[in-house]
Amino acid sequence: MAFKFQSYIGLLFLTWSTICVQAQVSGDLKPASDIYILKNCFVVPQPGKILSGQDILIKNGKIADIGSQLKKPFDALEIRLDSMYVYAGFIDAYSNTGIARPEEKERPKVTNTVYPQNEEAGITPQVRAKDSYKSTDKSVPEMRTAGFTLSNVIPRGLMLPGSSDVFILGDKPGDRMLFKADIGQNFQFAPIRGIYPGTVMGVMAKFRELYKNAEIYGKKESLYQALPSQYNRPEYSRELEAIYEVTTRKTPLFIKANHTKEIHRAMKLRSELGFNLILADVQQGWYNIDEIKKHNIPVLLSLELPAAPKEDVKKDSTKVADKSDFELKKEQSIQEYLSQASAFEKAGIPFGFSCLSVKATDIKKNIQTMITHGLSESAALAALTTYPAQLLGISKEAGTVEKGKLANLVITDKPYFDEKSKIRYVFVEGSKYEYADRPQAKNSGKSNGEDPKYVGIWSYIIDIQGMSQEGKVNITFADDQYKISMFDNTRPYDEIFADNVSLDGKTLTFTSSVDMGQPVTLQFELNMDDKNYSGTISVGAFGSFPVKGTWLSKPNNF
């Protein structure tokens, strides 16, 4: 009997210790509880509504209850949110979040540029975002910090980059964060120079051909399935199979269309071929409002905006007169970009936001700018929550703060659209991310009282697929800020200025705009050492290229 009892104890101990060991081995240290009760907050359950004095109970990643003075379960962690504001987690309807830029390798040589393989020509509709999404990519926490909890993730690529999937922006491994697969196919007016199709007109012609062949493929496939003895087996094509879903309208086609001309081209393809179009990353859509409304085409407006013109402190009429016609027209043009969202709202066209081209840290500032240019707060919130939820077919699960929905929440200290508001918590499927009252801004080009580093003239050599482009970089430090300008050897007298200079440890990042027929932003990321550096330059949709350089001399006027 005693023996039996001892072994019983032993067994218990054994079991318990096993559990301990498991917990340590998995390294998955969960908080003491995953049940939260948020006390006494303002809740904005959906655009245009607000409830005060609310408590929210979060359990199993979902909103278990909302109401005033909810009873706190014994195992819940209580967070007092007195006077804070709770919104539904934002939904990014179009971006490459979680998909790392491909490392710049030697691109395999294309042996036949006239008839390239589909993949070489950027035709990869069979690719899925879920095959390369990683929650460890730095874009995921960046988007989360900006209040986004779900993203419609587009694979990186060119003409037909693949189909997009919706991911929850949590930090569990990427494949476990897939929320909804196969949201839509994607198309970009993205030719590859030197390979067919090498121009936008080539891309459009190629797309028409693929589309017709996908229709034929589908027909042949169903004929063969019905009467296998009478017809030949159609040769399998993963590309046509993927596009076939677009031709039957089973899946929509997102077309990235920044400029009004691209919007027009997208609408033209749609009216010729008849697919379900979603216009994405629209930056200049005001010209096309009537057509978009007439055909009821869903729109995702880009959150990227051009820099606002510097306004004079006092609007002095004499000052205005000093400006040239060119400057006045340019300002008017910028105003139109900043008023795009407002123009869509006034026209009664609902829209979502695309985060493809915007830096996560600019999102709030840009939404503010849209609001000062006439966009209503409720339309802005709808574009961040309910509209994309509905468009992506996830409005039963997300988009509002409601019992039973995902516990995706953004919590701010003041109303979100208040200029001074700060995001204090983001809940992603019930997981809490807390942000300090004043998050220590990363070194945005300013020094921390240390001596400025890396000042001087440096060489640069950009390796563009075996060809090198060379020039000089001038790094100076004045008024507590780094300033960078460049001179390219092909145009040695044109000073190219850099913006958004930021030094984080040894990583120097900055951007520069160049005009390549249309404005293109170059993004530099350099790993600095005392006498040399190496890094990459990302050039819009063209990919990224390695760059290196050495220290030449102290700053001077060269």
Partner: protein, 448 residues
């Protein structure tokens, strides 16, 4: 200042102006097809020429323009240009019949307005000459102010396609990629292959539609377009210089029963003018431009006159956003070299290019029922002192030397810098605008 801003604002926001009714009073009307009419009025109603007579009574809601002392002529037509295009050459293949420059129109291009300032109301926006068979071209009306690219297209204009002979395709594909065509023999073979494949493709689809074969052939937009050329649905405009190659292409076309061909540039056209006339081919030439590459050394400023006298329908084109502003001067050069009459010289930039584009029933002369495309000139258009005063397209005043503001750009990019005309025109020096973007492309290509 405020006035200027207002004008700019109206210009920008009105965009597509609807046709007005316009009565042009008391001009010297150069009708082209019906002689010269002094002190005559031209009435444009709903975008069409409604009446040509003396002392027309002004109907209601009609703008009256006093043309006393001015010359009134039909809008000038340029049968070869590359303005208003975002892409010109699909360099990647020697045959790219499937691409259409109509897909990449750029209504914001200031060159459209500059062309209007030279009295040009219609241009033939062409694919470049990098490929033996380049893309399909687009006849556009210079409705500057519209932002919808579709509204630039001349509705109902026949489809046209660019072919190219000689050095350009050989350089791009033969020398550039070491593929056919690498010689003028290879050029002929490239055309013959494309036509043969197009014909086979057409037959295969006909068989399928008739039920003779059960399995649907693959769809091929390139060959589909070749089939349309064989059917005569698309007019060919071929970049050409040397006489031997011009004859070669006519032989190829004859073999496939293709009749409609306009030879562009055609510097050695004067050598084969009777052969061109016999085939029914037409010619669109430069007035006096040559020696910019080897195959254009054997040239003459008498080309247009010789072709005209031999019965070849001839036009003078620009191929250039600067030259397009003074095509009337270019036409006048044929009076110095070859002694063409006023009427013959003016036809080179009006009804003749209209014929080459298949739009002569609509435009190219001042006649009742034709489109209201009219230019008012101070001094005779063939005079060295000629200055266009007003250009009207479909009854809409699109250019007015008196009324327009200085800056009529429709769009200024938020990152734009103020630039001069000179900088804009010369930012990329090219040997020949038909090959725009080539050197840049070559650099990229060689690295691959």
């Amino acid at each position: 200042m405020v006035r200027i801003l207002l004008i700019i604002a109206t210009f920008c926001t009105t965009g597509f102006l609807y046709s007005q009714n316009i009565l042009i009073k008391n001009g010297t009307v150069l009708t082209i097809t019906d002689g010269i009419k002094e002190n005559t009025d031209v009435l444009i109603l709903n975008g069409k020429i409604a009446q040509i007579a003396k002392n027309i009574i002004n109907p209601k809601n009609t703008r009256v323009i006093d043309a006393s002392g001015l010359f009134v002529m039909p809008g000038i037509i340029d049968a070869h240009s590359h303005i208003a295009l975002d892409a010109i050459n699909e360099f990647a293949s020697p045959v790219t019949a499937e691409v259409q420059v109509g897909d990449v129109l750029n209504p914001f291009d200031i060159a459209i307005y500059r062309a209007l300032a030279g009295g040009v109301t219609i241009s033939h926006a062409m694919h470049g000459s990098a490929n033996a068979i380049g893309g399909q071209c687009q006849t556009i009306k210079h409705r500057y102010g519209v932002v919808d690219p579709e509204k630039l297209k001349m509705e109902g204009a026949p489809r046209t396609i660019k072919f190219a002979l000689g050095e350009n395709p050989i350089r791009v594909h033969g020398e550039g990629k070491n593929i056919i065509p690498n010689t003028r023999m290879g050029m002929e073979q490239t055309f013959r292959d494309a036509f043969a494949e197009g014909k086979l493709y057409m037959q295969r689809w006909d068989d399928f539609r008739k039920g003779l074969i059960k399995e649907s052939p693959e769809y091929n937009l390139r060959l589909e377009t070749m089939a349309d050329i064989i059917k005569g649905d698309i007019l060919i405009h071929c970049h050409s210089y040397r006489a031997d190659e011009i004859l070669m292409l006519m032989r190829v076309l004859k073999d496939y029963g293709v009749k409609k061909i306009c030879f562009q540039h055609v510097n050695e056209g004067f050598k084969v003018a009777p052969e061109l006339a016999a085939y029914g081919a037409t010619a669109s030439v430069f007035s006096d431009w040559w020696a910019y590459k080897f195959e254009v050394y054997y040239s003459t400023a008498y080309n247009a006159s010789i072709l005209t006298k031999n019965g070849v329908t001839t036009s003078i084109n620009s191929d250039d956003p600067e030259l397009i502003r003074h095509l009337y001067h270019e036409a006048a050069k044929t009076q110095r070299y070859g002694g063409l009459s006023d009427d013959e010289a003016l036809r080179l930039i009006t009804i003749n290019p209209a014929q080459q584009l298949g739009i002569d029933h609509r435009v190219g002369s001042i006649a009742i029922g034709k489109d209201g495309d009219v230019v008012l000139f101070k001094n005779h258009p063939l005079s060295i002192y000629a200055i266009p005063q007003m250009t009207i397209v479909d009854g809409v005043v699109r250019f007015s030397i008196q009324e327009d503001p200085d800056d009529v750009r429709l769009e200024i990019s938020p990152t734009a810098n103020e630039s001069s005309f000179y900088e804009e025109m010369h930012h990329s020096e090219e040997e020949d605008s038909c090959l725009q973007g080539f050197s840049e492309w070559m650099m990229e290509h060689k690295s691959k």
